[in-house]
Amino acid sequence: MEFGVVVFPGSNCDQDCFYVIKDVLKKPVRYIWHKDTDVDGLNCVILPGGFSYGDYLRTGAIARFSKVVESITNFARKGGTVIGICNGFQILLEAGLLPGVMLRNENLHFICRYVYIKTENNQTRFTKLYNAGQILKIPIAHNEGNYYIDAAGLKELRNNNQIIFRYCSARGEVSEQFNPNGALDNIAGIINKKGNVLGMMPHPERSSEEKLGSQDGYFIFESIINWLENRII
């Protein structure tokens, strides 16, 4: 089993993701430079957070045309596991691997703090080790996390249980009051229809060890490993 962490010019969470896979979860991992096309042998590709190409034009808009995203698109079409975190989520949206777009945060602030999110669907390869409705304490750090999709698109996400995480209170109450960025329906993370591509704004790689304040993000990676191992064996 091997993980790949994509590195764009401007990625800045790549080393955190790499560290968590290698040193916390003790699994093989390699970097994939954005000009590379080789994703052979990988079981899971992580698109990390950051400011790829300086967020010029729109977040993720330029990264989406890099060589590596073409390879990742094929990888995802074949059922490969892909997780996009923060800027990685934005890139997945621009690439059309996930539906919808990101707008600027409603209050126009760059928001960097812990939030709570509710696990709305634990029947996925990314969330299988969480309980249904489990509340996670996990940090966000973004300027464009205001998720938007049209009414038909939102209906489809709901009907297919594609909404995986929603912003909530520490006790799990989902309401506008606990929505940090204006995201439609408090959406913090979604999955594609096939269930192999997850995008989320919060950072599980920054909440994978107790000493950093929360270990709630760890189980996303652990879920993926668990799913891959059971499938490989």
């Binding site: 034009l57 919808g100 600027r104 409603e106 938007y148 204006g182």
Partner: protein, 82 residues
């Protein structure tokens, strides 16, 4: 040489928090008669050829592929001689 000026704006149906904030700021400066403020982007592209029909076709493609996101943005452009 041709010069294309491309204006990209958020669709009417999409909220524009930047525009709204600027509207509030202008109102606090005393400009009370503002119906709406919207923010957009201006992209200027200079082309190494003079064929306007080709220019229109290519600029349209550029907008659809990269410059605008059709889910949230509209674009329009004008092409002129430099």
């Amino acid at each position: 040489m041709l010069r294309a000026e491309i204006n990209i704006t958020l669709k009417r149906t999409v909220s524009d928090p930047q525009g709204l904030t600027i509207k509030h700021a202008l109102e606090s400066l005393g400009y009370k008669d503002l119906a709406d403020v919207r923010i957009g982007k201006l992209v200027i592209i200079k082309l190494n050829f003079k064929d306007k029909i080709r220019a229109e076709k290519e600029i349209n493609e550029m907008c659809k592929k990269l410059l605008a996101n059709p889910i949230i943005e509209d674009y329009h452009f004008k092409i002129s001689e430099e």
